[in-house]
């Protein structure tokens, strides 16, 4: 057999039927197996929005946490701080400001642990200054201190992005109460940040 003959298709192969019916109807088995994937597929179409909403919650939580923490350019966050901030704190009596206070008191406690006790009065004063700054900035609507504009703009971008994600999620699940609440929070934060930026033009 020469090479040319070997390259030619096998005689008779083209006559084989491409179609063949199974001995039993396979549909019953297939139908039973696709019942679950129907529900699964619906979840699949929604899960990106759910993920986006969860991400939005995380971003908003991060923004809120950062908003209420005192701005201290000298103090750079350290891994130890995160660990300590999870400890219970005597200062956190109510929810809103509690997060900022907890972080601050954790910082204070860390510093008191790692540095000399002589620094304690200074830390207490720093905490009082920071709380004053927080109230001045976010409670009374006063202009943001100079140099915080970049941070505010970054926060505004994050909040706007979160708001968009929540709106997208609401299009899929318009009746979700938690998403509506989340949208309210995002809108409030955006308006608040926008007002602060308006007070402090470039």
């Amino acid at each position: 057999m020469n090479a040319q003959q070997q390259e030619a298709p096998v005689p008779g192969l083209e006559t084989l039927a491409r179609e063949r019916q199974p001995h039993l109807d396979l549909w019953a088995g297939i139908e039973a197996r696709i019942q679950k994937p129907v529900a699964h597929r619906r979840h699949n179409s929604v899960w990106p929005y759910g993920l986006a909403a969860s991400l939005s919650v995380a971003v908003l939580a991060g923004v809120l946490l950062r908003d209420y923490s005192p701005v201290d350019p000298q103090a750079s966050p350290a891994p130890a701080e995160i660990e300590v901030s999870t400890l219970p704190t005597p200062y956190s009596n109510h929810d809103g400001e509690a997060r900022g206070s907890a972080l601050l008191s954790a910082r204070t406690r860390r510093t008191l642990r790692s540095e000399s006790l002589d620094d304690a009065p200074a830390m207490v004063a720093q905490r009082a200054d920071a709380e004053g700054l927080m109230k001045a900035t976010y409670s009374s609507g006063n202009p943001a201190p100079h140099g915080q504009q970049a941070i505010l703009r970054a926060h505004l971008r994050l909040v706007s992005q979160a708001e968009r994600e929540v709106r997208r999620a609401l299009r899929v699940d318009p009746e979700s109460a938690s998403l509506k609440r989340l949208l309210d929070v995002a809108q409030q934060r955006r308006e608040q940040l926008t007002a602060l930026l308006v007070h402090e033009p470039d």
Binding site: V10, V38, R41, S45
Partner: protein, 204 residues
Amino acid sequence: MHLTADAANEVRVTLLPASRTPAAEAAESAARREAADVQAAVGGCAKAFERLYRAHVGKVYGLCWRLCNGDAAKADQAAQDAFVRAWEKLSSFRGEAAFGTWLHRLTVNVVLGEHRLLKRWTTFEDAEESGAPEPSHHPTASLGDRMDVERALTRLPKGARAVLVLHDLEGWQHDEIAAATGIAIGTSKAQLHRARKLMKEWLT
């Protein structure tokens, strides 16, 4: 009557709408129905998917049966798996190719499994592994002992059979086989060559 080329073209173009055969119209109508069924199935309609199953089960099962070496039980399972996978993946069907083409490709992936597995299948040693007789092992085989085409096909090594079925029966090109299975184009060509050689030796 003699027409110039231009005049002939003009006549052809003029007659084109009227020259549509009933068969072509039926095919077009079937394609529209199938597209509607695909859309409905994407939306979760099992009835529409059943119609797609009924329309394509013959070709899908035939492909599975050949790739599974004629084992009916394995072919049943493979065909079921292929349709279930198709249902799961329907949302990824963009309509760029015909639904049947997409389904065939998906079936090949289901039956042949992971690409890595297929690479192992398509080594040249698998003929010895499967125990398929070399042509030289049967120098005295009588005419009555010779296998028919179908039986010869089932005796091919897995990789060679897969490539032969896809190329010579399903009409795939080597680059398509390579893309779908993960083997090199050269390997696909070599397997086809080997499969044809074995088949011809067994059948003569």
